[in-house]
């Protein structure tokens, strides 16, 4: 069971929790810059995060220490997940999975949907 602080790291993001989860999930697969993040998220989640929303979430994640910028000679600066970011993402995804499990179980029991 994750600690309250670990859970709070992403739930405290309010309406940015969605983009933040997608960004952290994408960075869990490796370092990426803004455009690569957009394309990766589009490929695994089917949603396209607009540039303004993406950078709003990136700035917030960086200020919270959940991601960090990687030094680069390129104008397209890459970002990577930090250890704190990995813990926060795991806690958040575990919580989401518990909700999903309950929902699917109840659907299967009452609506016959597996």
């Amino acid at each position: 069971m994750p600690s309250a602080d670990e859970n709070k790291a992403l739930t405290g993001f309010g309406r940015y929790a969605g983009p933040a989860t997608l960004i952290l999930s994408s960075l869990a697969g490796g370092t990426k810059h803004g455009y690569a993040l957009t394309k990766d998220i589009e490929s695994f989640a089917g949603v396209r995060i607009s540039p303004g929303t993406l950078y709003e979430a990136l700035a917030r994640l960086e200020s919270q220490g959940l991601i960090e910028a990687v030094e680069s000679g390129d104008r397209r600066r890459p970002y990577r997940l930090t250890a704190a970011g990995a813990v926060a993402l795991k806690a958040h995804l575990d919580a989401q999975r518990r909700v999903a499990d309950v929902g699917l179980r109840r659907l299967a029991g009452n609506w016959g949907a597996a």
């Binding site: 810059h33 957009t38 607009s50 540039p51 303004g52 950078y55 709003e56 200020s63 397209r76 600066r77």
Partner: protein, 324 residues
Amino acid sequence: MRPGGTPGDPAARAARLLRWYPRAWRARYGDEFAELLIADIAERPRSAARALDVARGGTVARLAGVGLCGFGDRHVAASLATLGCSLAVFLGIGAAMWSQLTIGWQWSRSASTLATVATVTTSAAMLAFLALGALAALLVLAVVAARIARRQGKGLIGPSAVFVAASAILFIGGRHFGNGWPGTGGHRGLVPGGLAAFEWATSLSVSSYWAHPGALAAFPAAELAWMSVSPLTVACAVTAAAKLVRRAELPPRALAIETRLAAVACVVMAIFLAGSCCWIATGGGRPSLFHAGIIDVAGAGVLAATLAVAWQAARTAALRIMEY
């Protein structure tokens, strides 16, 4: 914009979109964000959703820059500085209203119960502002003095000097023009006559005479000059104070105390606004010394707007303090 960019090309369009964001944000994220925009424009040449998203993101970044929303510990100082600026505008307008009421009382009792309630309420609020302002300023000045003494005062000495000079000009000018005030009319007011006169003199520029140039031309030249100089002096003092708060790097404990004072200041602002609305709602009643005009209605609107900004800044500061 990249060299050789034309107004229609993606780089030029990205540069235009980037203008929504404040300078500090552009310094940190500008290059990489422009690259993302250029790639996005190449894929979706026309997108109203993208333009709206960038405009919204830029507005949020600007509001975060002045501490009205956002995250991160630097935002507490920004929130407090913004609250201080809002409070200064509030006090500038509020002092003009209050001085009209208190000066009215120097000449005659008010026949209106609500005008009396307004005078007592706003006077109590002004006293509270004085106490809160003194506490808040002492704390900031103590931290600034300690930093300057430890030779860490880079960026603090200039604003400190401007603040002290502007405050001195306001005090001396207020005393000078307050002393030239017609007098008390022999009636004992609710607040000392000297204080009412000083307040009248410092808020002389908040006047409906600006809309009547003919009447304004009959004013003594020195008084006209003071009406122009005093708001500029107030602006200098407030800007310097805001710079000090942002640059002083107040320790967390000091920020927490300032945030509590800010919350109390918002409550006092609400009380002052309620008191002034009591007065305006009746039109001032008799005698005509207490008359509330259109400028006072507009003033109440400004008070409400500045209270809303101050409240949002205090709320943002309190949320950030809880994260420490």
